[in-house]
Structure formats: C-alpha cells, structure tokens
Symmetry: D2
Subunit: 342 residues, 4 copies
C-alpha cells in the first residue's frame, strides 16, 4: 500500500484526497491545510474522515477555537508518506518542495506551479513512461489535461500534425468570491499556455490557441481544429472517442446542451460533489473541413486532473511500468468507463 | 410501511424520491415521468435504483430506444401506492388528480399548482394539524417554505404581527437552459405571492413583499423586516434560530459569503447533488431597528421543500398526529439537526 | 436624395434609422412599428425626430393612449419611399415583401429572414457588385457581417483557402428579458450557419465552425483559424487590418481586455447608444502557426450591420456602381476611419 | 462663471466633467488623471474637448507616447479653478485635499472618501443649507444619493419615522474587469453603510438595512419599507414621486421590467453614454401594509450623483442660498423634469 498525503485541501486537494481514498492500492494518510476554510469546516462536520495536519502552527489557535482536531504538522505528514500530492496555491508548492527533499519523499505538483519545480511535466495517457520513478512530477493544468486526452486519443490512432484551439474558459469555480467576471468576456494574450503546454508534452505536434474567459462556473469548453496525418472522418473520431475510458461522447439532442447540462447530469448521477472525471465531447460538434477535423470538448475543471494525478502516483512510485495497465488501474478504482460496458 | 409514488422526475421529483427512500417508515414504490430527460438517463446509468413508470404510453418507443426499462404506467403506479407526491409541471397535477381520485389515493402537490387543487395549503411546521387525514395537500413553494420556517420559529416564541420581505430570487436552476437572465434584474408586480401565501398559512400575520429576479442559480436570499409583539433582540433571534433543526445559522466571517458558499459547503459535505435541506440565516445580517428585527435567509431552492413534503405524508396518512413528533421523525431520517449535537 | 423607410423599430431598426439620417445623399421618410415598445416611448420623449407609421391599425388605440403621434400606416410609408429597410422580427419580412412588391419598391432584409426572401445575399465589401440594381437584398447577420469584413480584408490581399471559426456568442442584447442564459454555456449543432453563410458569399473559401452561446450582452468574439494561399505574418495581417476603415485594431495592453472594454470605450467616445460600427481585432490575439494565421474579432452585435446595409442601399438604388466608392461614401457619412487619420 | 476642475477622469469623473460643461453658470477648466486609461484615450479620439492635466509627472512619457496633449499638472489646474470636484480612487482625495488647502480652494469629494475629509456630508435635496459656503463637502454615495432622494421626497410631505432597506447592488460597472461576481450573491455585514449614512444626513429618521451584491452591471435596486408619521397611500406616494424632477415613475406594464430596461431606455433616448440622472420607482412596486409603505427604486450608479454634486458646487460657492432655486438651476441645465412637462 502506497502511503499518500495531500497538501492543500482546496478545490483540487479535496478531490485528490477523495480520489486516493478510492484507490485500493493506496492509503490516504492525511491532508494538510493552513487555515480554517469552508472545506475544513465541512471535514469536521463529516466527522473527520481524513486526518488533518497543519501547514503552520501559527494558526493552531484558530483551529482549536473551531473545535477541529489536528493530527500534527505538515512536516509530520511528509514523514509518514511515500508521496505527497501538492495542491497548494501557486508558488507554495515550490517552497514545500524543500520539505519533500529534506525527507527524500516524492511529490506531484499541480498545474499552478512553474514547470521547473518538477523533473517531468506529466500526463497519464500522453507521456506516462517519462514519469516512471521520477521524484517530482508536475501535472498538466485542467484545460491541458482534458485537451491532451482528446488529442492523444486521435494522435495514437491517426497521427496529428497540428492543432489550433479556442478555450472558452469558466472564470471561477462554484463558491468563488475572490474572482469573477460580470457580463464580460476577457481575452488573454495569444498563444495560450495550454497550446504551449501541449507542445511540451507532445513535441511532435504544432499547437496554437486563444483563450477567452467567460462568466460561468461549471466547465470550460475547448474547440479544437486538428490537422491529422491522414483524413479522420466524423465516424472515425466518434469510434476513437467512444473507446476511451476518460471521454464521454454526448449528444445535444439527448439534452446535453452545454457545460451546465454536464454538471447537472453528474449531480443526478449522485457523483460526490456533482463531480465528473471524464471530459465530454459533443457528437454534433464534430465536423470535418477538408483535411481538418473540428470538435468541442467540455472540461470539468474541478475534477478532471484527478485521474491523471493517480496515474502520476503509479508512475512516480513505479507501481506499474506499463502505461495502459496503469491508467486501467486508475480507471477501475474511479469507476471510469464501466458505465459504457452496461 | 406507507407506500409512496412520485409523479414527475425533475428537479423536485428526484429529490422527493431520494427523500422518501431515506424515511424508514415509508417505501418508495416508483417514480413516473413522460419523456427521456437527463434525469431519466442518469437513473438508467445508476442501474435503475427506482422503478420507472410511464406517464404516457405514446413515448414508449423513445424509452425503449434509450434502453430504459419501464415498470408500467402512471396508472399502474397509482394503484400500488398509498399516496402520490406530484411534482409534475404546473397544471399537470390538476389533471393527475383525477387519476388519484379514481383510485381513492391521497396526493401532495407542489407549489406550482393552484391552491384549489388541494384541501389544504400545507407547511409542516406552521400548520401540520390542518393536514392530518386530508386527501389532497398542496405544499408551499420553495421561497414560502423557507420563509415560513423562519417566521414561524420566531412567531411561536415571541409572536409576530407583521412582515415585509424582499425576495432576491435565483432565476434558474443549475442546468436550466429554458429560462435565464443575462445581466439583468427583473422586478415582479408587488405584493409577491410569497407574502400572500404566508398570510394564507399564518392568517394572524400581515405580510407584504417585493420580488426581484437575479441571474444566479444557487439559492434565493430573502430579507425579512418583522414587527414582533414584543421586542426581539439579536441574541433572542439567534437562540431561536439555532434551536431549529431546519435552520442553520452561519457567519460571514467563517466564509459563508453568500448563496454560492452554501452550495459549495453542501458539496464539500458530500451531500448528494450538493443539496441542503436547511435554510441558512446569516448571523451578521440580524439587526434590530426600534421594535423591528431584520435578517436575511438563504433558500436552497432545489431541496428545501423535501422535509415539509415528508411531513405532509405523515399528516395526510395520519402516521403521526403530533406536530413536533412528526417533524422530528422527518428530521431524524434526513439527518437534520444531528450535526448541531456534535 | 434617395427616400428610405424602416420597418421594425427595434434594436436594429432604430440604428438603421439613425444611420440613414446620417447619409447626406439619403432621406429618412419614417419608421414603422406595431406596438408601443420602449423604443417608441423613447422616440416620443425625444420629440418624434422620426415620423412613425403603424404596421397594423389594430393597435391604433394603444398608441393614442400613450400620446404617440402617428403619420399613417406602413402601407402609406411604403408608397412614399424608394426603398424599405426591413428589420422586423424573423418571418415578418417575408410577409411585408408582398407589400413592397405591390408598390414596386426595393427592400433590404436583415439576417433573420430566410435567404430566399431576396435576390441576393449581400455584404458591402465582399460582393457589392452582386447587389447592384437588385430589387431585394438580404444582409448577412451580425456575426457573419463582421467575420466577412475580416476574412475579405485578408482574402483580397493574400488569398484565403479555408477558415475554421469558433463563435463565442453574446446570448442577449442589453435590455433583453425574453431570452438569456444564467451560468451556462450552450453549444449549437455544427457547422454554424455563419460558416455556411460565409461560403455562400465567398464560395471560393471552405469554412466550418462551432458556436457557443455565453451569458453576456455586449459583443460576440469570434476566433478565426485561416489557411491562406501564401503565408501571412502577424505584421502582414496587422497592416491589412489597420488599413480597413471598418476594422479597429486594439491592444490588451492598452486596456482593451475584452468585449466589455469596447462597449465602455464606445460610451466614453460619446457614440450614440454607446454603439460601435467597427469590428475590433486584438493585436495580441494574432498568432501564426505554420501556414495558418489565427486571430480574434469583437463583433458589436447591435450596430455592426448598419454600414453594410447603407452600402446595400447604394447598390440596390444604383447610387454607385464602384464597390470602393460606395463603401467610402458610407464610411464618410458614418465617420468611419476618420479617427485613424488624426 | 464659477471655474471648476475635476480630479480623476474615471466613471464618475467623466460624468462630472460632462455635467459641469452643461451648467451655463460654470466653466470647466479641465480634468486631471494619472495614467492613460481608456477614458483618456477616448478623450483624445474625440479631439480633447477638455484640457487634461497630469496628477503625476512620473507618467509624462506614457502620455507622450500615446500622443495625448497635456495642459499642465494637477497643481496647475487647482490654481486656475474656484472649486475642485475630486473623483479619484478612495483615499487619494484625502491626499489631494492638502493641495486644495495650500491654494485655499474649495472641493467636493465623492462617496468613497471617509466622512472626516469634509466639513459636511452633503445631499442637494436633503441638507443643501448645511453646505452653503463650506470649503469641503463630501457627497453621499450613489445608493445613498438615490435613496435619500426618495425618502426626502416623502419625508418633506408626510414625515417619515423609520426605514428598513434592502439593497440589491450591481457589483461592477460596465467595462469593469478588476471586480465581478460569477453566479453568486454576496451579503455584507448589516446594517449597511447606506442606512447609517441616511441617518447622518437625516438624523430624525431611524434606518437599518441589508446589502446583497448581485452579478449585474446596470443599476442597483433598493426596496424601502418606510414607516410614515401618518398613513401614505399608494396614490399619495405616486403623486409625490411624480412631482419630483429627479424621480421617474415607470411601469412594468409599459416594458420597464428591471434595471436593464432603464439602461436600454436611456440609450434609446440618445442620452450620452446611455446615462440617466434620475432614479426610477416602479409604480407596481408600491404597496402599503398597515401603516407602512414599501416600494422599489432603481439607482443608475454611474450618473446618479452628478446632479447633487452640481448642487454642491452651488452651495459651497454660495451661488444660491435657496435650496429649491439651487436644485432647480441644476435640473434646468441637466434637462431634468422637462420631459414631464411635455
């Protein structure tokens, strides 16, 4: 049993903890945070299913006043685990890395950290082999993780030369008050980092892209214009996507009208927090234009990186050296793809 | 075991079914709907935990093509149950009532139906006794249900003469595409129906109010200006609200910044669908002004009526004639108030 | 002086009337509408700068009660003009066409009508010549009008083979209550009609695209991936766009952060209604990727079609047979491009 | 001719400058700002109708590069005027005050500054006399300005004892990217500062209130529950409001459905920037409940303080000592109330 700790119990950290708890070959030792957030209050109200460690003893009193039991410090947690999943705010991971190095522990950082924090920039499907045995991995960000799933899926079957993406980005998570847009679209300088990141992970593909922030909270939508090595028909693409355990093909005509339908559906499925690990691709969005193929992806930004992070644990800890067996293990424990077999 | 059926498997119907399934003294026989919605698709993907009946055989083929097993017609379902919970679209309930009468079954309608569909307009806390043994009840709407919880709570202790409410209404549910507002507040003709409905349920209180629709999806906020029979201090109000099993007192300083924080918190609690049965009242919103007391309530519009509907089953079926024992049974099975005892 | 009438005094109709009033070689005879809208009330409060005609005498009393003077019927108006600009709701234009035919008048329909209502589907820059002398023109829709401006601009200089577009569409106009989205992105079946329309106007270009509705009110954003006949550098594109009188190149670093900045800027300019006739292209959005060039356009949906409709009058009425002289006349009267010369 | 300068050329400062330019008994000497904002770029594109002064010479180069002519420094401007209108960001006004004192000039600060920056906290209608001849005035904020207009209107006729307000606040101005909410309502600690400010200006009235931020950009809506000294019927209230030159009574049935309708209407009126100086009160929102009267106000947050600031100039400069003559002069030059006489 690989022992895992989570630093940062926010939007991603909570879901990483839940994800690890589902892996039968891993043990969640505990989670660490620095202040009494709503997530920490909810942990307490649920009866502390996970042990909580304190990133800084300065805030001890705050936790005591809120009646929240503490199992020790982040440094204590690091010593007890084989690998840390670091989901702290951007920049903190780089500091925590010193602690991980001090005790010779492995760690996986999330997309907010700079690439040089890690030995390898990692995606479970696209470059699993590069992560094997490494001490420090950095996961791709939510958009990049989902985008690469789809592009890698086509690339392995048909070969992809070039992609141009448009990211229609949700600007805040549900419950966010520290950021937001009201009645405004905001454009970032091009090319988007997601296009650049894709080229880092998949250097044989040429990528560019434009990102526009939109005032919604559930799910980015990415349109992809892909130039394949050989013609991909809509039917080809559908078959490839349908066969992928982390991709859901959905139909507008079935009621999947946009990102909000997918969030509603995940809630109706009874998924914890209304989360969805899979990206969705709309059947009716897939069009070909000459040699190119174009389609639209829904990225559930809160949960999409969880499976690839689990893959990362398997790679870093050398639990599995075969890419397909590794992702299959993650998928089995997270229940991915099983619904397709029904 | 009281046998219960649910007609209409939408936003409210799904939650009614889940709520009944949690009551140890009730049995959910099945749910009925008329078309293959996302909720129905989710039911299938979950492996049909509830039997599904067809409101109209005209759509049989549509269900078969989607591979969704059908247990019979709505008329079949009605015959198998003691009481129907009707959560169909406004106006359909009045039609379905003929079916319920045909088989001599009881029914509880939701707020969208006209008051005259039922023998009594019902609220579990405010007028439980009026529902005992009746054949047809109509529940108060989501806003009115939550509003009455808070007003009744104060009224039973201190006596309330008059209220003036401002309803800051969420305009659509998460996942709605058939309605919505974009960058606009919309005002309704005053007085709001919620003020009028409150007076129907609590005729000794004078009420008026204004309703403004806002472009958000999680939770209405109602401000209440109440004139009590005798002065209520903030401390008095806090004690009363804290003692109520369907009211949560929350603090802005703890991070409950608005309706979105409560939705996030319910998701973090692991509540199915991220639902919350309780209304919330912000501690820092409670202010007194001369004789009056003013405060703000959060109404989780998707789930708030579930407990009072369960109370309604107890009343209509004469499972319990004591108001406080009835609501206590509902609260126990839904886990309401238990977290306060920790 | 060409005599012009406007049918439908809504979002587009009001702006068409204002646009005609600015053309020194045209005379606005009057506008027609069917009911007392806010736009009609504002016309009255302004002292009736335009004569108002009634589309249906059935509503005469409604206008009288509101104290709004009427100059006659739509049929009266048609008889007084040389050409009608029809900006009525979709489908009404086709009916009105019978009236225009009855009196042998010309007409220009807006994008909501079906293509077969007209002899030619028209864009001032892209196919001016096709409209010369025709009785019935149909303008491209707002998105298509702006998109074609940019594509035609590049195509005439460099040649364009193919485009793939992503339309990030504002879902409602400011002041709309009859439609809207709340916290949701909505995707349409692909390919978008704008891509198809572009191919109708510019048949030598292959086009496809995906459209996503977003909950904002000021300005669509379109990303374009264009495959030119020969390489277009960013510098090439900038020079071409800068030289176009109906295109504004703006910079994120100057504070043009998104569609809302452009609306704010137009208000700060003192433009009536805060309108802008020009599309904007963000300098920092222009990226090349191999042979392709990608960029993002802002489409001010309320006003963008006004210049091309003025061009249409010039074509249909044979006021000018030279494309460049025609658009130059429109630009001069609307003040387009003059600010670039300062 | 009173010479006026404006410090801070943002949302409020631009409108103050435009307002002063309309007063026939005042002269706008110039405006000052510190950086090349979109508002400054628009000023340049319009041909510099107002002279621009630099708040800090540090940024001189930035202005020169943008080709924007500068007429001197803020200190130069202060020396040329009789009175400064300070609409800089919160806190800067207090610093600028030293400059105004140095040259013995008067100044009016906006609502963002602390009350102690000024000799008197001012509202043109409610306490004009207190501002006469004072060196430093501070205007009430946008919400408070509009709220007091309505409350003062009733108070002078009927006498008001107490108000309880609910402010449904727009969270950002059109074009704002530095703040915003996405799918969230946010509640502030009660009582709201607007209720406290009302009591400072009108100390004979008891006031409390709750403020909720909403994700829209055009216009706050305030509901007011007022307890009058003697009964006010709806008809009484309507007559009082209709007779006030800075109040517009509007009807839902005429199409004024919410704050967005008023913004649309102001655009359709051709008002510069689509601004409206008047508050609006919905006829159908006025309800009485026993002794109390309740109604809803729309506050156009960008422009509402302009008239009362013009009044403030008249008071501070002793241009007029009679309250009603002062506000009448402002109203005449701004065109307020004239439309009612048509």
């Amino acid at each position: 049993m690989i022992k895992v700790g989570v630093a940062g119990y926010g939007t991603i950290g909570q879901r990483l903890a839940d994800g690890v708890a589902l892996q039968k070959d891993m043990e969640l030792v505990g989670v660490a945070d620095i202040t009494v957030t709503l997530a920490v209050r909810a942990l307490k109200e649920k009866g502390m299913p996970y042990n909580l460690y304190l990133a800084s003893l300065d805030n001890r009193e705050q936790f005591e006043q809120a009646g929240i039991p503490i199992s020790g410090t982040l440094e204590d947690l690091v010593q007890k685990v084989d690998i840390m999943l670091d989901a702290t705010s951007a920049g903190i991971g780089a500091k925590n890395k010193e602690l991980y190095k001090k005790y010779g522990k492995k760690a996986i950082f999330q997309g907010g950290e700079k690439n040089d924090v890690a030995d390898v920039f990692f995606h479970g499907y696209a470059n699993y082999e590069k992560g094997i045995g490494k001490q420090f991995l950095k996961l791709t960000s939510c958009n990049t993780t989902g985008l690469i799933r789809a592009v890698d899926c086509l690339d392995r079957i048909f070969g992809i030369d070039k992609v141009a993406i448009t990211i229609i980005r949700r600007v805040a998570d549900p419950g966010d008050y520290h950021r937001g847009l009201t009645n405004a679209l905001q454009i970032d300088k091009a090319p988007s980092h997601q296009a650049l990141d894709l080229m880092t992970i998949m250097p044989h593909i040429k990528a560019t892209g434009i990102l526009v922030h939109t005032p919604v909270t559930h799910g980015h939508i990415i349109t992809v214009v892909a130039k394949p090595k050989k013609k991909i028909t809509k039917q080809n693409a559908l078959e490839a996507f349908n066969a992928h355990d982390r991709i859901r093909v959905v139909k507008i005509e079935d009621g999947f009208l946009g990102n909000a339908s997918l969030f509603k559906y995940a809630r109706d499925l009874g998924n914890p927090r209304g989360d969805m690990y899979e990206i969705a691709i709309w059947d009716e969005s897939i069009v070909d234009s000459g040699d190119d193929i174009m389609f639209a992806i829904n990225i559930p930004q809160e949960a999409v990186v969880i499976p690839e992070t689990m893959d990362g644990i398997r790679a870093a800890m050398e639990m599995e050296t075969d890419r397909l067996k590794a992702v299959a293990a993650t998928n089995k424990y997270l229940g991915l793809g099983t619904w397709k077999q029904k």
